[in-house]
Amino acid sequence: MNLSMLWENRPQAAAVILFGIGLATLLLNQNLIRKIIGFSFMDSAVFLFLASEGYIAGRAAPIQNPASPLPASAFVNPIPAGLVLTGIVVSVSVTALMLALTVRLWQRYHTLNLDEIIRLARREEE
């Protein structure tokens, strides 16, 4: 394994590590709020990955001035930025729905522990 390669791609490496942290929190932590934070971590990591892939050192933001048009090679890749924007919208709505469900569950069971909630819900169902 080439360490210099890892150093060259450090934003991406960091993003994948963050993704792992988020995934582990989402799956393993029993606290609902922490689960939601884990989810945000996971999605933000993907956005970091995309943004760092789209950035090309030494180039400008892709905004064309009609008075003095520049060639496409003067700009960074705009598509990842667009994808990140869309992704953020999706991520915000998912977070909102999760938080709304968490509020409902808190009002009903007065706990944020998912195992506990499932146990109480099972008992209610019986």
Partner: protein, 497 residues
């Protein structure tokens, strides 16, 4: 451009608009709006399929707003998409019609219009998933589908349904996170998001051999992500709660539409983006085969132990999803079997949930198997429908289930000896297990039980439920009687998929 080529886009747009409309209108109007739009979608997709078949030209590409592909958004429709776009609204229509009474009981009736709004949103996401030719658009609609499915589970607003919804969300978010990561990695590797361009790049990469490891990781992540979302065996833990906690129409929609949408997307990714050779080279097919065989056995065993009718039906979903993935895991030859089972299972499972709820009513409001003794005598129509669906699950003649099991078994014969033995043994064993728990339930239902108490509802109120169940039962029968034309249609659709 021919007129029917606008239909895919129009049906997606119509569902979206209807969703917005339903959220504003009172329940008694929104119900008719939703049903009308679904009916239009069915008619539209049917004429699309007819148009495609008559012109004989194969799939076509539609640029939204006439902007060519990398800038605009692209829709691609062929025979397979047309068939799926007919099937999905049909099942949604039946579920909405049959589940209306239970919906009014289970929730504050003022909010019935929101249920229609969520269903229409789900429908538009499903249709967009079916038609879209752009991987990122697929991701966005995948998330919309997850959100609306979660709303459907939580709609009853009881403790168990909220808990089921949050469990559903957690695992589905893992699935979509993995899908998004693999999508981003793939974009990173190829620089494309459009499926045709991706296919060319992936072929070039695979031929080059330099990025074998990266491609394997991407295929594995994407497969696992979509397996989590469609509840393949080791990732099924949310299924029994999610499929039994909601109102009956939610259960039917979730089990027969939402999970199918994800599977269809996986099939699309395999066919249009990677190609089966690349998947084979990554050995992900072994993963699919192993998981699906385990799912078939585990789901059936768990269903045998279930004490409630709805839970038993939910567990049998785990097994049936296993069959569909088994078809995918068998490769190009198994695709037709997978899609065929997708269709026959969509009919049978929604029928099981909807008529099962009527039997719960007939059993005095409890769906414990012990309380259902003689329920068939109190509501014979629902019981006949339930029995038809159960026989399809087992795979008896005159039901679609038989055809899909035969197709899977025949396809397995083309594979190496260990695969052949494993698949045939699992098919035989699971049929045996299915017979055990479905026939046991059938005997309970049809045996003479407590004295027949008259049903609470009048025949007039029951008519829509029975009509919807009847349509679905005809679907179960029709997938058997019309198996060869349907299969021909699917093979043709897959060839141009």
């Amino acid at each position: 451009m021919l007129w029917w080529q606008n239909l895919p886009f129009l049906s997606i747009l119509l569902c979206l608009l209807a969703s917005a409309g339903c959220s504003l209108l009172p329940g008694r109007i929104s119900r008719h709006l939703a049903r009308g739009v679904l009916l239009l979608c069915i008619l539209g997709s049917a004429s699309l399929t007819a148009g495609l078949l008559r012109s004989g030209s194969g799939a076509f590409v539609f640029w939204m707003g006439h902007f060519p592909a990398p800038w605009g958004n692209e829709i691609r429709a062929g025979v397979l998409e047309g068939v799926c776009a007919c099937l999905f609204p049909l099942i949604m229509l039946c579920a909405l019609t049959a589940g209306r009474g239970a919906l009014a009981e289970g929730t504050a009736s003022r909010r019935e219009n929101l249920y229609d709004a969520v269903c229409m949103l789900l429908m538009s996401a499903l249709l967009a998933q079916v038609y879209s030719n752009d991987l990122f658009t697929c991701y966005v609609f995948l998330e919309i589908m997850t959100l609306s499915a979660c709303a459907l589970i939580a709609f009853r607003n009881s403790g168990p349904s909220l808990a089921a919804a949050i469990r559903y969300m957690v695992l589905n978010l893992v699935g979509s996170g993995l899908f998004l990561l693999s999508l981003v990695l793939l974009y990173d590797l190829t620089g494309h998001l459009l499926m045709e361009n991706l296919h060319d790049s992936v072929r070039a990469l695979a031929a080059d051999g330099a990025h074998h490891r990266s491609l394997t990781i991407i295929i594995a992540l994407m497969t696992v992500g979509l397996c989590v979302k469609s509840a393949l065996f080791p990732f099924h833990s949310w299924v029994p709660d999610a499929y039994s906690a909601g109102v009956p129409s939610s259960n039917a929609i979730l089990s027969s539409l939402v999970s199918k949408g994800y599977i269809l997307l996986l099939l699309k990714v395999y066919v249009r983006v990677f190609g089966w050779d690349t998947v084979l080279a990554s050995r992900v097919d072994l993963l699919l085969l192993g998981f699906s065989l385990a799912a078939v056995i585990y789901g059936s065993l768990a269903a045998m132990r279930a004490a409630h009718l709805s839970r038993m039906t939910a567990w049998s979903s785990v097994a049936q999803i296993g069959y569909i993935f088994l078809g995918l895991g068998l490769g190009t030859g198994g695709y037709a079997a997978a899609v065929f089972h997708l269709i026959s299972h969509a009919f049978a499972k929604s029928l099981l949930f909807l008529s099962g709820d009527r039997l719960r009513e007939a059993g005095g409001g409890s769906d414990r198997l012990a309380d259902l003794t003689g329920a068939a005598r109190r509501d014979p129509v629902s019981a006949v429908c339930w029995s038809a669906a159960a026989l399809s699950m087992v795979g008896l003649p005159f039901t679609g289930g038989l055809v899909s099991k035969l197709l899977l078994g025949m396809e397995a014969l083309h594979h190496s000896l260990p695969v052949r033995i494993a698949v045939l043994a699992v098919l035989a064993l699971s049929t045996l297990l299915n017979v055990c728990y479905f026939l046991r339930t059938l005997l309970v239902l049809w045996s003479p039980g407590r004295e027949a108490s008259p049903l609470r509802e009048s025949g007039r109120r029951l008519f829509p439920v029975h009509a919807a169940c009847g349509v679905l039962a005809l679907g179960v029968l029709g997938t058997f009687l019309g198996a060869s034309p349907l299969l021909e249609l699917l093979t043709r659709g897959l060839a141009q998929f």
